[in-house]
Every structure is written in structure tokens, then in C-alpha cells.
Amino acid sequence: MRDWFKPHRIMLIAVAAGLVLWAALSMRWDWIPRYWQLGVEGIWRTLWLMALSVLIGFAMAVPLGLAQAAGPRVLAVPARWFCTVIRGTPLLLQIWLIYFGLGSLFPQYPWIRTSELWPYLRQAWPYALMALSLSYAGYEGEVMRGAFKSVPHGQLEAARAYGLSRWTVLRRIWLPQALARALPTLGGETILQLKATPLVATITVIEIYAVAGRVRQDTFIIYEPLLLLAVIYMAIAGIITLGFRWLERRYTPGLG
């Protein structure tokens, strides 16, 4: 804490506070009362899209990593291809391919409109969630592959020598250590997932970036909504970082 009171820090903080004050007084913020409710809805949508896609993506990433680290070739090769394709193409293209590409197939199969899934196929968020989850799974599959491979093989051999079943070895020795090793990287990747969420605004999902876009179009103000948006994202990223740091302290005390 003492670091914050060094003279150069105090001067920089004063300059920053001055900038914020100048921005607050001289820029136009009269649009906030009209749009803050829409903004809160947008932040909520950003948060749950990010959280849910991280959970689903991670659930897919563990088997993908395991298949590449220890699986038979018939599983490892498709997993490798999946991760390569996801990591080799832009997320924006993947989102558009899933939303508009699948959408362009609907007219050819008229029975889709009468099926049970139609209310979900009509809306945009299932496609956004699917694209974000697949993207996270692709990147984390690669991370988990490295994590599984980095657990010392001797531990696994010793466990098998003790007669533990393969499933027990995975559950009690391999997976927990792989997770602990992957945790620092996962924090960074989750922030990257947060930064990927604005792209779904291009397929009509109204998250916080789309709300800022709406404010910009209604009021013709160019910079202020974008600046506030940047501050909001920085705040969310800060919370995520703190959360992961707490997780690391709790679950990886002795790994070094």
C-alpha cells in the first residue's frame, strides 16, 4: 500500500483525477438518465453471455484436452482439428457463419418452423452463446492439452501401480493438478472472452456495446458513450482478475 503514496504516484493520480473531472464537466453526459436502464440490461446480458459461454466452453475443453493428451488417435485427431480451426479463424467470421450461414439453410427445410426448437432458433442469443462457447472450447482445449501433459507422468504411473482405476487416477490426481496448472492462463482467457462479447452485437444481441451503439445513433454523440463503455469493460475485467487471483490463492498454494 505504501507504493501508492510515493510522490510520483500521487502526482500521476492527481493528473488522472484532473482528467476525469475535466471529462465529467466538459463532455456531454445528458444522455445517461435516458439510457441507464437499457445500459443495465446490456451489462447483465454481457455478463451472463460471458459466464455461461465460459462454463459451457470449459466443460467441452476438458474432454478436448484429454483426448489430445491421452486419447486414441480416432479421438485425438478430430479434437486437434477442431482446436486448429477455431484458433485459426476470426471469431467474427465464426459468429456470422453460425448465425447467417445456418439461417440461410432454414428456407430449404420448411418443417423447421413447426418444430419445438423454433422459438429458440428464431432468436439470436442461442447462436451467440454457441459461437462464444465453441470459441472458448477451442482455445481452452489447447490450454488443457498443455496442462494435462505438464503433470509429471511419474505420478500417474505410481497411481496406476497402486491399482487405482484409470477413472480414479483422472478424477483424483490428473485433473485437479491440470486444473491448478491451467488456472493462471484461464484468468487471462476469461478476460479475452469478455473482450469477445461485443462482437455478438452484429447479430442483433443487445448487450452493452449495442446499447452504446444505440446511444451514439440516437444522439449523434461520438466519443462519450465509447469512453463510458471502455470504463465499464475495465471495471468488469478488474473484477474478473481479482476473482481469479482469489481462486489461485485458494486452490494452488503449494504448486509454485
Binding site: F100, G103, S104, F106, P107, R113, L121, R122, Q123, A124, T202, T204, A210, G213, R214, R216, Q217, D218, F220, I222
Partner: protein, 254 residues
Amino acid sequence: MKKLLLSAAALAMMVGTAQAETVRIGVAAEPYPPFSAPDAAGNWVGWEIEIIDAVCAAAELDCELTPTAWDGIIPSLVSGRIDVIMSSMSITEDRLQTIDFSDPYYNTPTVIVGQRSMEMDASPEGLAGMVIGVQVSTIHQAYAQTYFAAGSELRTYQTQDEANQDLASGRIDATQADSLALADFLGTDAGACCEVKGTVAADESILGLGVGAGVRKGDDELREALNQGIAAILADGTYDEITARYFEMSIYGN
């Protein structure tokens, strides 16, 4: 030798002064047939592109087409990245507070196009409970948000094209846009799904007074030049000649 150099210098100066400063005309980077769309060779074609060429020739301006993202086209004009917006942008009071417009060069009605299988008309009651798609940053979005948002669900798309695509897929029930752009869509295979359901009630404050060329506030010299160009092509028949190639009747809309 000296004479040669002197005359070369004089020629260079004449060429230099005769060359007008390039006027960058901003058009939307997203296709908007039949007004402006890229073709397979990468050139821009369409009614509006030909009108731009004709107006520039009549006003003796050296124009350069600059595709810009539609939802950033006004900031691009204001920040000086482009000099004119000629991209089917309607003249509305809101926009007049930020930029100036030339005289209008076309004006067409706004219609609702919806699924053939569904009953609806172009009023808030007729569209209650439906999902309507509109393009962002357009008068149609503003109109739909004012009149239809209470009773229907609105979805905003980056381009009218994508809204048409979702209409064909069945994800949205109706879309509101310019009648000619939608007529072009209805003529395609994908457009067989849908039909025109009606013209929306007029509201000049939102729908505007026709389509004009946008210029920066205070750029009167360019605005006058464009007005002269537009008047010239209306007078000498170039406008009608270009329009006849794309549409069946005049779209000047006076």
C-alpha cells in the same frame, strides 16, 4: 534549354492548378441494391452510383468513391475522413443539427414487407406481437422505435441485407425499409417468402424530406456545387435516363 525548362514549369503549374481537389464521396460499405452495391469485379454499381458520377461531372468536381461503414458515416464526415455523404441518407431534423444537406435527389415511400403467411398491415395495431427487423442508424429504426416498439419486438441489423436474409429465414416477421430497396429484394428467389403489406403512416419529422447529399456544417461552397449539379442533371434529362434503366417510374418524388 532555359526556354524548355520555363515552358515545362509553366505547363506543370497549369496542370497543378487545373486539377481540382479530390472530393471524397462516402457511400455505405454495405450493399444496398439497387442503389449501390459492389459487383463481382469489386466495382460499385447502382442507380445512386450513376447519379453520383453524373452530378460530379455536371458540377465539374473530381470525385472519389470512398466506401465507409454505414453506422460510422456521419462521424467520418464530421472528422474529415470524407467530404460528402451520398448514400441514400434522408434529410431529417435530427441529422440537420449535426450536418448540412443538399437539395433532395429522390424521395420514395417507406413500406412494411412481411411473411406471406402472416396477416399484418403497416400500423402499430397491425404489427402488434410481431418481430420487426430494421437497419441501424436509419430513419426506419427511428420510426419503428417511436411507433412500433411498444407493441412489437424490434431487431436491429447492421445492413438491410441481413434483415432481408433473416426475413427469408423466418426469424423475423416483417421489415420496414425503402420501397425500392425492398422491391429489389422481393424480385429475388429469397424474396418469394414475402410481400408488401402496406405503406407506413407519414411522419416527416422522422422519415424526412427525401434523400439528399450530406456535407459538413458550413461547407456551403460544396453544397452549392452539389445543388447545381443535381439541378443540371434534372434539367438536361440525365436523371430520367439513369432512372429509366433501373425503375419504371420517376423517383424524384416531388
